[in-house]
């Protein structure tokens, strides 16, 4: 019993987390013949909030048919709350020595207990502007590509779809460009 409770607080190794994430694909098919993916919800949220005067065709559809998907991400937030607040890991992220040295050279302190660095996520005007701007890239790109890490890298690749191979090549190339070239400059 104690080990079970300890496991709820401890971080999970990749060989536990990865298969659980992969199981989302058959699980969503089993629950309601749905395709597992997160970023579509950004479109649904736009469809819900689009004012009548604006009327972009892309957001004119019956979002209520996708209520299941919105319920799923409400669950994701709830799961985040449970894992990150209720059963919060008492120890900071155990980064590799190489990664620690790298973020130090960027001017970041070692992880102190949060999943994200205070240097970037403390709600200052500068940070919030930066996070918003990068969020615009995430929102634009995922809808342009028709999916994100879940819909393309997990669902798409595991169902052998060429479209997702293209998307994942794009995603990883973009990530390499920004984490190697942009992040060290912009995050200082």
């Amino acid at each position: 019993m104690n080990t079970l409770i300890e496991a709820l607080y401890a971080p999970w190794p990749w060989y536990v987390a990865g298969p659980l994430i992969g199981l989302m694909v058959p699980l969503m098919l089993f629950i309601g013949n749905r395709s597992f993916g997160i970023s579509n919800n950004l479109r649904h949220l736009c469809a819900i909030t689009q004012p009548r005067q604006v009327e972009v065709d892309f957001f004119k559809y019956d979002w209520k048919e996708h209520t299941w998907s919105l319920v799923f991400v409400i669950g994701t937030a709830l799961g985040g709350f449970l894992a990150g607040v209720v059963f919060a890991n008492p120890h900071p992220v155990a980064l590799s020595a190489a990664a620690l040295a790298m973020i130090h050279s960027w001017g970041f302190a070692a992880p102190s207990g949060n999943l994200v660095p205070v240097e970037l996520f403390t709600p200052s005007v500068r940070n919030l502007t930066f996070l918003f701007a990068a969020g615009v890239l995430v929102g634009f790109g995922t809808r342009y590509a028709g999916g994100c890490t879940s819909g393309h890298a997990i669902t798409g690749l595991s169902t052998l779809q060429l479209a997702s191979v293209y998307a994942v090549i794009g995603i990883f190339t973009g990530g390499l460009i920004s984490s190697w070239l942009l992040a060290p400059q912009l995050l200082q």
């Binding site: 999970w12 629950i31 013949n33 970023s39 990664a99 994200v116 709600p123 919030l128 293209y166």
Partner: protein, 140 residues
């Protein structure tokens, strides 16, 4: 309401795993893009392997199988294309490499009460809207 409960539970498990595995951590994403740890690659590869084996099993044996709500299970195909997938992926990847959060972890971190993650979500909604408005003007 009851028919949505399985989605709520599945989503809760997903969010829980994202935080527990630290896939929702900026630190882990930077570590991944700089190839400084196997952790994130282990998550991605084992997730894809699990999805692959289970969906192939559904394809092979699933003809008689129906979902909980009585539909026959079929695996949807993504629309054909190339440019939109590559350019869209690039744009998303550039954002991801900076702030270390993709859409799933954004929702999970909003759940932890992170104001920063809320700013990312607000940006992502505006970016999504921008794509909808510019859809006909970008190459597909």
């Amino acid at each position: 309401m009851k028919r949505y409960l399985p989605y709520l539970l599945a989503g809760t498990l997903f969010g829980f795993v994202l935080v527990k595995s630290e896939a929702a951590s900026w630190y882990r994403i930077q570590e991944m893009f700089h190839f400084q740890s196997f952790h994130m690659f282990g998550i991605l590869f084992s997730a894809i392997a699990t999805g692959l084996v289970s969906t192939q099993a559904i394809r092979l044996f699933g003809r008689r199988h129906v979902s909980l709500d009585g539909q026959s299970i079929d695996i949807p195909e993504k629309p054909p294309g190339r440019k939109n997938y590559i350019y869209g992926g690039l744009t998303f990847g550039i954002g991801w490499g900076l702030i270390g959060l993709c859409p799933g972890p954004v929702f999970a971190l909003v759940g932890t009460g992170s104001i920063g993650a809320l700013a990312v979500l607000a940006g992502a909604l505006h970016g999504t809207w921008l794509y909808g408005a510019l859809k006909e003007k970008v190459p597909h």
